[in-house]
C-alpha cells in the first residue's frame, strides 16, 4: 500500500469494510501502519457535499476531466444513504462520473451509509486513509442534509458545499447554523444566469455572519457550470489556496489532529453508545487522552479503548 500500488487498493478497501474478527485484526494492522508511515501532508482530501440534485456528480466529472490532463490522479469515495426499511442501498448514479471508468488514474468506491442515518459510512474514514496513499486527491462525496457535514469536515482538509441557484437548500443551510463549516462554497449550474449571481451574493454576505474559527480562512464563493466547464479551474484553485493557507499557518496539522479525535469518538459512540464511552471518564478528559497519545495510530487506539470499554462493561454487569 505504501508503494502507491493501485492494484492493492480495492482489496484493501474490502478488508477494512470486513466485520469478521480475523479480517478486522488484519485491517487494523494495515491502517495502523498506514497512519504511521503516510507522509504529511500527503494527498489533498476534499469533501463535496450538497443537497440531492445540486449536481455534485456532474461537478466531480468536470473536476476529474480538469485534473487528469494535469497528470493528477483522483480517488472518489461516494457515500449514499441506506434504506432504513430494507438495509439495501442504491449507490450513486455514478453514471455521471464517467470520465475515467477505464482510466487507472481515477478510482471510484461507492459506500452505503448503512445504519448511519444521514451520516457517513464508518468505513469512509478508513477508505480515505487507504486512498490517500495511492492518489493525489481524494474526494469524499455525500448528500448533505445538514447532519453529516460535521463528520465530513473532520475527515477532509477542505470542505466544499455545492448549492444550486435559487434553491431553498442554501437558505436552510444558513438557518441550520452550519454555514461556518464549508471552506469553499460552489454555486453550480451558473449557466442559469441571474439566479446564480444572486445566490452567490447571498452566500458571500452570509459567510461573514457565521461563527467561524478565527484561524480559519474566510470561505470563498465560486460559480461553476459543469455543463460548459466554467469555473472548474477556479474551484480547484480555491481548494488549493485553502490548503496552502492551512499549510502556511500550520493549521492543517491541527485540523487533521482534530479530525482524528472526532472520528475516533464517533466510532466509539457508534459501537458502544454514550453509556459505553462514559466508562472511559468524562468527555474532555477522554479527548485529552486521545490527543496526548501520539504513539498509537487512531485505529490502534480505537481498538485499545474499545477493549477498555468492553472490560468495564463486563465488570459492571
Amino acid at each position: 500500500m505504501l508503494h502507491r500500488d493501485r492494484e492493492a487498493v480495492p482489496e484493501a478497501l474490502n478488508l477494512v469494510d470486513d466485520r469478521r474478527p480475523d479480517r478486522r485484526a488484519e485491517a487494523l494492522e494495515l491502517l495502523d501502519t498506514l497512519e504511521r508511515e503516510t507522509p504529511f501532508p500527503g494527498a489533498s482530501r476534499i469533501g463535496l457535499t450538497g443537497a440531492p440534485g445540486s449536481g455534485k456528480s456532474t461537478l466531480l466529472d468536470a473536476l476529474v476531466r480538469e485534473l487528469r490532463p494535469r497528470g493528477e490522479t483522483v480517488a472518489i469515495v461516494a457515500v449514499d444513504p441506506s434504506s432504513r426499511k430494507t438495509g439495501g442501498a442504491l449507490l450513486g448514479d455514478r453514471i455521471r462520473v464517467r470520465s475515467g471508468a477505464a482510466d487507472p488514474g481515477v478510482f471510484i468506491r461507492s459506500l452505503a451509509a448503512r445504519d448511519q442515518l444521514g451520516g457517513l459510512a464508518e468505513s469512509a474514514w478508513a477508505a480515505v486513509a487507504i486512498l490517500a496513499t495511492s492518489f493525489d486527491r481524494v474526494f469524499v462525496e455525500t448528500v448533505g442534509v445538514g447532519q453529516s457535514e460535521g463528520e465530513v469536515a473532520a475527515l477532509v482538509d477542505t470542505l466544499v458545499y455545492v448549492g444550486t441557484p435559487g434553491a431553498g437548500d442554501t437558505l436552510q443551510f444558513m438557518k441550520a447554523g452550519i454555514l461556518e463549516l464549508p471552506d469553499v462554497f460552489v454555486v453550480n449550474k451558473s449557466d442559469i444566469g441571474s439566479a446564480a449571481a444572486r445566490t452567490a451574493s447571498e452566500l458571500e454576505s452570509g459567510v461573514g455572519l457565521g461563527e467561524r474559527n478565527p484561524s480559519q480562512p474566510v470561505a470563498q464563493v465560486v460559480l461553476t457550470s459543469a455543463r460548459d466547464g466554467a469555473g472548474i479551474a477556479e474551484l480547484i484553485a480555491a481548494v488549493d489556496a485553502h490548503r496552502q493557507q492551512q499549510l502556511d499557518s500550520g493549521t492543517l496539522r491541527e485540523r487533521r489532529q482534530l479530525g482524528r479525535e472526532t472520528q475516533l469518538l464517533l466510532a466509539l459512540e457508534r459501537r458502544y453508545g454514550s453509556f459505553g464511552i462514559g466508562k472511559l471518564g468524562d468527555p474532555p478528559a477522554l479527548r485529552e487522552r486521545i490527543r496526548k497519545d501520539r504513539r498509537s495510530s487512531a485505529f490502534a487506539l480505537l481498538a485499545c479503548l474499545g477493549r477498555e470499554i468492553e472490560d468495564a462493561l463486563e465488570k459492571s454487569s
Binding site: D17, R23, D80, K85, T86, G87, G88, L91, A101
Partner: protein, 662 residues
C-alpha cells in the same frame, strides 16, 4: 345509430413493418419483398452504432453491427438500402433520433443522386430526444443541443421538404417504460410543446410560419392490451392537442390542429411463455388504435408474435402484416363513421384521462417544461415508479397475464420447436460491413470530406441550420461517425439521470422479506453486506429492465452499484474491481450478448476476479444461453423470468454457491 360511410370505405392507414438487419443490401431485399406483399410504407430500423453516431469499425460498435437494424455508415449504404424503390412515391419512416438530421441528410442526398426532387419526399424522422433520455437510451448530446438539432430539422423541412414529418413525438417508449395512460399523454404533450417553443424562439422562423410548423408535428403512440382505454387515450390526445395548439400558439385552421399519429403496438406485454397468444394480443391492440375513426392512426406497424424470443423471421412479420390487411380489407371497420360518438362510457373515460393529463402536464410546465423535467429526473422517476408498480402487480397477480401468472398449463407449442423459430443475424455481416466501410473511406476525395466537415463545424458553431452542411457532407462522403464526432466536440456528450436513486425503498411482500433475511444472513459469511453491480454493456439503451433489477436488489437489502447504460466491457470489469462487488448482473436486449458478455468474463479473469459470479438477463435464445453458461455465466434470465423476487433469491443462491469466500 351508425350509418355506412356515404362515400363508401375509408382509405386505410399506412401499413408498415419496423425492419432492417445485417446490411443495407439484405434490408433492401426485405423491403422490396414486404412491399410486394402489400405493405404500403417503410419503417427503417437502424442498428445501434448508427443510432448513436458510431461507424461500424468503432470499438463501441463491436458485436452490435447489423443486430437490431441496418448499419448505415455513408451515402453508398443509404443508396443500397433504397435501391429500386422510387423515393418520390415511397412513404418512409426512420426511427432515428439523436442524429436524425444526419440520416435525413443521407436520405435527401440519396434522392438527389437519383434525380428525385427533395420537395417530393414523404415520410417521418422520429427525431424525439426526450423519450431517449427517459426510456430508449440512444441519445448522444445534452438536452439543449439536442433540442436545437430537432428544431433545425423542423424549420428546414417546413419549406424544403414540405410533406415530411420532421419529428414524431413518442409516447410509445414511455408506455414501454411503464407510463400510465395519463403519463403518456402528459409527457408527450410536454415534449411537443418544448419542440414548438424552441422553433418559435428561433430568429430564422417568422411568427406567421408557426401554424404551419404545428401542422407538421406528428406523434408516435403505443397501444396496450387494455384496448378500450387505448381508444379513449387516442380520443383524449386528439382533443387535448386541438385545445393546446389553439390556446398556446393561436392556430386558427382546424386542419393544422389535427392530431396525426402513427403506432407500433405494445412490445412490453408480449410474452415468452405461450408466445402464440401474442397474436391475439396484437390484434386487440391494433383495434385500440383503429376502432374509433376520430382517433384512428395514420400509420401502423405491428410487432411479431415471437419478439420476446429473438429476432422475427420474414414469415413472422408477414403474419403481422396480414392482421392489418384483414382488419382493413376483410372486416367492415372502414365502412362507418366514428362508432363511439355519443357513448357515455367512452366520453366519460376520455374526459377523465384528459383532465388528469392536463394536471400532470401543468406540473411539468410549472417546473420549466419537458427539458427541465428531464434534467431534474422528475419524469424518469415517475416512470420508474409506475413500472415498479406494474411488475409488483404482475408478481402478486393483481394484473393477469395469461400463460405467465395464470393459466400456465400448456401443451408444447409446435410453433417454437427447434432452433429455426427465430432469425439468426449473419455473423459475417459485421466483418463485411467494416470491409466496405474501409473501401469507401479509401475511395473518397479526402479534400472534399475535410472541406465539408469544416463547413459543418463552422455552421453549427455559429448557430446556423445543421441541415444544408449535413447534406453537403453526405454528398462528400462523410461517415456517420465523423458527422457525430464533429457535434460531440461542439456539444459534448450527455449521460441521463437514471431515476432509480430517489425512490424510497419498500418492505414488500413476505417473499421479499424472506429473501431479505437471507441477504442479511449472508453478510456474516461475506464479512460485509452483499454488493451487486448492475450494468448494461454495449450500445443498447433500454434500461428499464436493469433499473427494475437495481431497485429490487435494493429492496431485498443488497447494496447496488448501478452504472447505467452504454458501458464497455472494460469499464464494467474495472468498476466491479474498484467497487468490490460480490456479483455482477448484466442486462442486454440488443442481441449482442454473445460478444459482450464473454468479453466481460475475459476481462474479469484478467483482473484476477474470475471468482466473481456473473448473471445475465435479456432477450436470449436458449441455445445462446447454453453457450453463455458454458463460457462461465452462472445464470441466464429471459422475459419469462418475470418474478423479480425469485431472481433475487436465485442471485443469493449464486453468491452462496460461487461467490468470493463461498
Amino acid at each position: 345509430m351508425s350509418a355506412p360511410h356515404p362515400t363508401g370505405r375509408d382509405r386505410p392507414w399506412v401499413f408498415r413493418t419496423y425492419s432492417g438487419h445485417s446490411s443495407a443490401r439484405a434490408s433492401n431485399e426485405l423491403y422490396r419483398t414486404n412491399l410486394a406483399k402489400g405493405q404500403t410504407g417503410l419503417s427503417v430500423a437502424f442498428d445501434l452504432p448508427t443510432q448513436t453516431g458510431y461507424d461500424s469499425d468503432h470499438p463501441l460498435a463491436r458485436g452490435e453491427v447489423g443486430k437490431v437494424g441496418v448499419p448505415i455508415d455513408h451515402l453508398d449504404d443509404m443508396a443500397a438500402l433504397f435501391r429500386d424503390i422510387p423515393l418520390d412515391q415511397m412513404n418512409t419512416s426512420m426511427t432515428i433520433n439523436a442524429n436524425a438530421a444526419w440520416l435525413l441528410a443521407l436520405y435527401v442526398a440519396t434522392a438527389e443522386r437519383a434525380g428525385v426532387d427533395a420537395k417530393l419526399l414523404q415520410g417521418t424522422t422520429q427525431n424525439d430526444i426526450v423519450k431517449e433520455y427517459l426510456s430508449r437510451g440512444t441519445y448522444i448530446f445534452p438536452p439543449e443541443a439536442s433540442l436545437r438539432l430537432i428544431s433545425d430539422l423542423v424549420s428546414y423541412t417546413v419549406d424544403a421538404i414540405p410533406r415530411w414529418n420532421p419529428t414524431n413525438i413518442c409516447s410509445y417508449h414511455l408506455q414501454e417504460a411503464g407510463a400510465t395512460p395519463v403519463q403518456e399523454i402528459a409527457y408527450a404533450m410536454a415534449t411537443a410543446l418544448a419542440v414548438i417553443d424552441a422553433v418559435r424562439d428561433r430568429d430564422d422562423v417568422p411568427a406567421e410560419a408557426i401554424p404551419k410548423v404545428v401542422g407538421r408535428i406528428s406523434f408516435f403512440l403505443n397501444s396496450g392490451i387494455r384496448f378500450v382505454e387505448e381508444i379513449c387515450k387516442g380520443r383524449a390526445m386528439a382533443e387535448l392537442w386541438d385545445e393546446l395548439t389553439q390556446e398556446r400558439y393561436g392556430v386558427e385552421d382546424p386542419k393544422l390542429r389535427r392530431f396525426r399519429y402513427g403506432v407500433q403496438v405494445n412490445s412490453l406485454g408480449l410474452t415468452e411463455a405461450q408466445p402464440e397468444n401474442n397474436v391475439i394480443r396484437i390484434v386487440l391492440e391494433a383495434l385500440g388504435v383503429t376502432f374509433s375513426k376520430k382517433a384512428r392512426c395514420r400509420a401502423l406497424q405491428l410487432p411479431a408474435w415471437n419478439e420476446a424470443l429473438g429476432l422475427p423471421r420474414p414469415w413472422d412479420q408477414q403474419w403481422s402484416l396480414r392482421i392489418q390487411q384483414i382488419l382493413a380489407f376483410e372486416s367492415d371497420l372502414l365502412e362507418y363513421q366514428d362508432l363511439f360518438d355519443g357513448s357515455h362510457v367512452v366520453e366519460a373515460k376520455t374526459a377523465e384521462l384528459k383532465a388528469d393529463a392536463r394536471k400532470e402536464l401543468d406540473a411539468v410546465l410549472a417546473m420549466g417544461g419537458a427539458i427541465a423535467a428531464t434534467e431534474n429526473a422528475y419524469m424518469k422517476r415517475c416512470l420508474v415508479e409506475s413500472q415498479t408498480a406494474r411488475s409488483r402487480a404482475i408478481e402478486s397477480g393483481d394484473i393477469s397475464v395469461v400463460g405467465v401468472n395464470t393459466f400456465t398449463t400448456t401443451e408444447a407449442s409446435p410453433l417454437t420447436e427447434g432452433q429455426r423459430s427465430i432469425l439468426k443475424v449473419d455473423e459475417s455481416a459485421e466483418r463485411e460491413q467494416i470491409e466496405q466501410l474501409v473501401a469507401f473511406r479509401n475511395a473518397r476525395n479526402a479534400a472534399d470530406v475535410e472541406a465539408a466537415l469544416t463547413q459543418l463545424t463552422d455552421v453549427v458553431r455559429n448557430g446556423g441550420n445543421v441541415m444544408p452542411p449535413s447534406i453537403r457532407s453526405a454528398h462528400a462522403g462523410v461517415t456517420t461517425g465523423e458527422w457525430a464526432d464533429v457535434l460531440r466536440r461542439l456539444f459534448g456528450e450527455y449521460r441521463a439521470p437514471t431515476g432509480v436513486v430517489a425512490r424510497e425503498a419498500e418492505g414488500g411482500s413476505e417473499q421479499t422479506a424472506a429473501v431479505r433475511s437471507r441477504v442479511h444472513r449472508l453478510t456474516d459469511q461475506l464479512g460485509r453486506p452483499l454488493k451487486i453491480l448492475v450494468g448494461k454493456p454495449g450500445l443498447d439503451g433500454h434500461s428499464n429492465g436493469a433499473e427494475q433489477i437495481a431497485v429490487k436488489a435494493r429492496d431485498v437489502g443488497m447494496e447496488v452499484v448501478y452504472d447505467g447504460i452504454r458501458l464497455s466491457p472494460e469499464e464494467i470489469a474495472s468498476s466491479a474491481r474498484d467497487e468490490g462487488v460480490h456479483v455482477v448482473g448484466l442486462s442486454i436486449l440488443s442481441g449482442s450478448h454473445g460478444v459482450l458478455v464473454i468479453d466481460v468474463l475475459d476481462r474479469l479473469r484478467k483482473l484476477g476476479l474470475g471468482e466473481i459470479p456473473v448473471v445475465v438477463g435479456g432477450i436470449i435464445p436458449e441455445d445462446d444461453a447454453d453457450r453463455l453458461r458454458v463460457a462461465g455465466v452462472r445464470r441466464v434470465y429471459t422475459p419469462k423470468d418475470f418474478d423479480l423476487t425469485s431472481i433475487m433469491s436465485d442471485i443469493v443462491d449464486v453468491v452462496e454457491e460461487y461467490g468470493p469466500g463461498a
